[in-house]
Symmetry: D2
Subunit: 297 residues, 4 copies
C-alpha cells in the first residue's frame, strides 16, 4: 500500500489500557491556555519514570467553552484511578490554579468515574472560597492575588487506551522531524487523543526490557536505529533511511486513537523525503488493542 | 521611591536555600530546545506538591554552546541532593533523551557536587552505547531511532536560592499580566535564575499554612487578594488596584536572584496601569536571605 | 444593551465597496503558510498610502486544501480591478513564489472576475515551466532552486466590503489591547474576512480629512482620543476610559463582515477592564453599508 | 574547504550598492514590536516588483532602547534616497503609527542623511500634536485612540549593500529548509543586516534577465534547480542534492554583510543533510562588492 508515494507497511500498532482524566482549561487568551496546559502536562511522557502521561488534546473555541473564553483540552493518564486522582490534584493545584487567568472545567462530565478534585482545591481559599452554580456547573470560587479562580467541583475519568503509535522513516533526519511535527499538528485537531512525548514526538522509540541490562524496563529499539543498521541482525531500516521518529498516541477510546493515527499518517506522508510508515507491536502478545495500519487508512 | 511613576515599597523579599542542578540542552533549532526544556521542567512550580521546582533559565547562543547549536539552560531544584539526583535522572531520561535532536550538557561543570546521570542514562543504549571525548567533555553516545543521542557523563549542582520574589499591583488584571509577562521576559536574559511557575508567573501568591484548614501547607494570601479588599483586616490592596501577580525567582546564587529581581521590576514598571511594586516576606523570621527592593534598584 | 456587563452602544458601522481577491497559500507546515501570508499581505493596512489592503483570512486545514497540506486564505483589496491585478502579480510573484514550500491556489474559483496571474508568473520559469492539470485545477509548474513551485493559472476576485469596524473602550490601554487581540483571533475563524491593520488592530482610528491641515486625507479621531478627553468638545470618551482600539474588517460580502464583527465583539467583552463597544460611522452619508451593532448581536 | 563535513565552495558573493534607512521600533512587548516590524517591512523582498526591500535586523533589549521597552531594528532599502523617503513615510505612517503601543526612533541618528519623516507624520495629529525633548531626542507626541504615539523627528539613512548571499545545498528539501531557518536566526543576531525575503529565505534564486522571455528582468537560476539537473547544461547541482535555498542579505556596510554571511553559514552547516555551501555571483562583472566565502570563514 502506498499513499503519496510513501510505503505503508502491512502491520499493526499494539496498545494498552490506561486510565484517562480529561480537563478543559480556559484562559483570557490562547497563549495562557497553552501555558497552563504545558505546565500541567509537563514531565509526563511515559509512566516508566514520569508520575503520569499527559498532553494537550486540542484547542476549544470560545463557542464551545462554558465561559466563552479560549480553551484547551488536556488529558492526564496513569495506570490506576488512585494515582490518577493524586496526579489530578497535584497538577491542577500546582500548575493550573497557579497560572494566570485560568479556569478548570470537567472535561468528562458524563463519565461514571468522578473525582472531587475541585472540592479539594478550594481549601486553598482558606475559608474565603464559595460554591456557585455557574454555566450550569457546580463551581468553586477561590480568591487569589490575580482575582478569583474558578474550578469545577468534579473531574471525570474513564478507561482509555495508551500506546497507539506509528513510525515515520525518512531519507534524512530533518524530513522525518518535519513530518512528525506535521503529524502532531494534525492529531491536535482530533477529538479525544494526546501525544504525550515532547512536542508530541518520540526520538527514542524503545523495546520492552533489555538484552543486556536486566534492571532496565525499556531500552533502545535497535532494529529501528539507523546508525545500527549494519551492526544488528534483522535491522528494519531500509537502505537510504537515516531518520526515524515515533508518534505515540493515548486517548479516551480505541476509536479516537485510530482516527488520530489516520490523521497523523496522512499528514506525515505529505513531506518530501518520507519513504515509509510502519508501527510498533509485540506480535500481539502484550497489548489488548491491535490497530492495523491498512485498516485505518 | 518611584520608578517611571510606580511606587516601589520599602520592603524586602525573603528567600530560602535550595539545591539547584543546571543543564544545557542543545537542539537542531531554538524551537526544539524550547520544547525539550518545557517538557523537562514541566509539573515543576513548587515543591509543595510538585516533585521539583524547575524552569528555563536563558537561551544559549550557538557561539557559547559546546556543539555550536542553539541551546537553552534549565534549572531543576529540590530541597536535597538525593531527590535532585532522582529528578535529574527521571526528567532528563524521560523528557530530554526522548525529545527530537537534543543533546544534554552539564550546566555546572565546575560545581563540587556532580551526579553521573549521563552514565546512568547510557544504559538505555542496551550495550550499543559508547563513551567519547567530544567538545572537551566526556560524553556518551546512545543510538536512537532518530540517530544518536549525546549526553554528558556528569551534571553539576550547587547550593542555590529559592523564593526570591516581587509583586506587581495594577489598576486592572490585564496590565498586571502584561507587566508580569514583560518581567519574565527580562529575567530570561539574566544568567543563573529561573521563574518556575507557569509562564514564569504566580497568579496565586500564598501564605505559609492556613488560618482555617490545618492540613494545608499553604493557602491564599488574602491580604493581597483584590476581591477580598473590603472583607479582610489589613488588606494590602490600595484603592483602585484590581490585579496582582507575583514573580517567584530561584537561582544559583543570591546575587543572581537580586539581578533578576531588578531586571524584572524595571521591565514591569514600563507597562501602563501598573501602580505599585512590593515583595513577600515573613518578617525575616523564616528565610535565610533578605533582599530589599530599594537596595537592588 | 449590555453583554457580559459591557455596554454596546446603539450605533452602526459604516462600510464601503472595494474589490477583493482571495488566494489560498499552502506550504509544508503552518509556519511557512503564515510566513508567506505575512510577507504577501504586508505593507497593506489602508489604501490611503499602502498599495493595497491585505491580510490573513483564516487557516485552511489539510482536509480542505487541494494538495492536503496546511494552508491559509489571504485577501488582497484595492479600489479597482486594474490595481488589484497589479497587486496580485507583484505580491504573489515577489512574496509567495519566493517563499519556501508554497503553492498558490485560486481562493475564489467560482468568481466571475478571474485574473490569469499564474499564467504571468510562469514566465519566471524561463521556458522550463510546464502546465499541468493537478487536483482538478489548471496549474503551472515552475522549477526553482528549492524544487518546483506550483501556481494556479487563474485567481478570482469579487466586489467586497471595506471598513467594517468596531471600537473597544477599556479602563486601561492593556485591557483594550488584550481584548482587541482576542477579537482578531476570533475573527480569524470567520470565513471571508480580514483585519488588514497590524496584528489586526488599529491604534490610530481616524476621521476623514482634517480640520487644520488641508493636505491630509485622514487625521486622528480626536473625539475618541483618551488624552484629549478634556481638551476637545463632545469627547466620546467616558470617564475612566484610557485606552481605545478599533478593529477594521474587510470581506468578500456584507454578511461575512457582519459575522466577523459579531465574533470579534463577543470575544472582546470577555476581557476584564473592557467597558464599552461602539463603532465608527459618518452619519450614514458616505458609506454604502450600515451595520448596526444591536442587530448583529 | 570543509566545515562540519560540509563543502564550502571557493567562490564569492557579488553585491551591490543600495540606500538603507534604519528604524528602531519599540512596543509594550516583543510581540508587538515584531508585529509592527512585520507589517512595516512586508511586501518588501526585492525592488524588482516591491516598492522597497525591507526586513527585521535584530531585537533591541530594554537596556539599549531609549524608552527602556523591548524594541526591534528594521531596515528599509531602495535604490535612491528619493524613493527611500517616500517609503519611510508611507510605511511608518501606515504600518507603525497604526500599530498598538509602538514608538518609532531614528535607527541611524549619526548618519549624514536625515529625513524629517517624524515631522511629516505629526500632521496626523490635526493640531493636537506637540513637540517634546524626551530621551535626549526630538520627538513628536501625536494623540491617538490608544493613547499618544511618539515618533522621532528625523530618521537617518546611509549608503549600504544589497545582495550579499549564500546558497545551502542539501540532500533533501527539508534539511535545506531547516538549515536556512537556522541561518536566518543566526543572522538576526548580527548588527546592521537584514534578510529581506519571506522568513529570510529565497526559494527561487534567480539570474538577471531571461534566455527566452525578453520582457523579464529576472528568471529562475536553472543551473541550481534540482529538478532540472539532467535537463540543463552545466548544472551546478551535485548528485544526491534535491533542495537548495538562498539567503540574501542587505546591510548598512560590507563589513556587516560579511559578518552575517559568516554567522549564517556556520549555523547552516550544523544541520544534518546539508552537503555544500556556495554563493551567487556574475563573475564579478556587475556588482561593486565581492565577498569570498573562504575569506570570511
Amino acid at each position: 500500500m502506498k499513499i503519496n508515494g510513501v510505503e505503508i507497511e502491512d502491520t499493526f500498532a499494539e496498545a494498552f489500557p490506561i486510565k484517562v482524566a480529561r480537563v478543559l482549561i480556559t484562559a483570557v487568551n490562547e497563549k495562557w491556555a497553552r501555558v497552563a496546559a504545558a505546565e500541567t502536562t509537563g514531565f509526563g511522557t511515559s509512566v516508566i519514570m514520569c508520575p503520569a502521561e499527559a498532553g494537550v488534546e486540542r484547542l476549544a473555541t470560545s463557542e464551545e467553552t462554558p465561559d466563552g473564553r479560549p480553551g484547551i483540552y488536556i488529558q492526564i493518564c496513569t495506570p490506576s484511578f488512585k494515582t490518577l486522582e493524586e496526579q489530578l490534584l497535584a497538577r491542577l493545584g500546582q500548575c493550573t490554579l497557579t497560572c494566570p487567568t485560568t479556569t478548570a472545567f470537567n472535561g468528562l462530565p458524563d463519565a461514571e468515574k468522578q473525582f472531587n478534585v475541585g472540592f479539594k482545591l478550594k481549601f486553598f481559599g482558606d475559608g474565603f472560597e464559595s460554591a456557585e452554580e455557574i454555566y450550569g456547573r457546580k463551581m468553586w470560587r477561590v480568591p487569589l492575588m490575580e482575582g478569583d479562580f474558578l474550578v469545577e467541583e468534579n473531574f471525570g475519568a474513564c478507561d482509555g487506551v495508551a500506546g497507539g503509535n506509528f513510525f515515520i522513516l525518512a531519507k534524512e533526519q530533518m524530513p522525518a522531524l518535519i513530518a512528525a511535527e506535521n503529524a502532531v499538528a494534525a492529531i491536535e485537531r482530533v477529538e479525544g487523543t494526546i501525544t504525550p512525548f515532547p512536542g508530541g514526538i518520540v526520538a527514542s522509540g524503545s523495546k520492552v526490557g533489555s538484552a543486556k541490562y536486566k534492571f532496565m524496563r525499556a531500552t533502545t529499539n535497535e532494529k529501528f536505529c539507523p546508525t545500527l543498521r549494519d551492526k544488528v541482525d534483522a535491522s528494519q531500516i531500509p537502505e537510504g533511511v537515516s531518520g526515524v521518529y515515533e508518534i505515540v498516541i493515548n486517548g479516551i477510546s480505541e476509536d479516537a486513537v485510530r482516527k488520530a493515527m489516520r490523521a497523523g499518517i496522512l499528514a506525515a506522508v505529505k513531506v518530501p523525503g518520507v519513504v515509509k510508515i510502519t508501527a510498533g507491536n509485540y506480535g500481539g502478545k502484550l497489548g489488548k488493542y491491535q490497530i492495523p495500519l491498512h485498516e485505518i487508512l
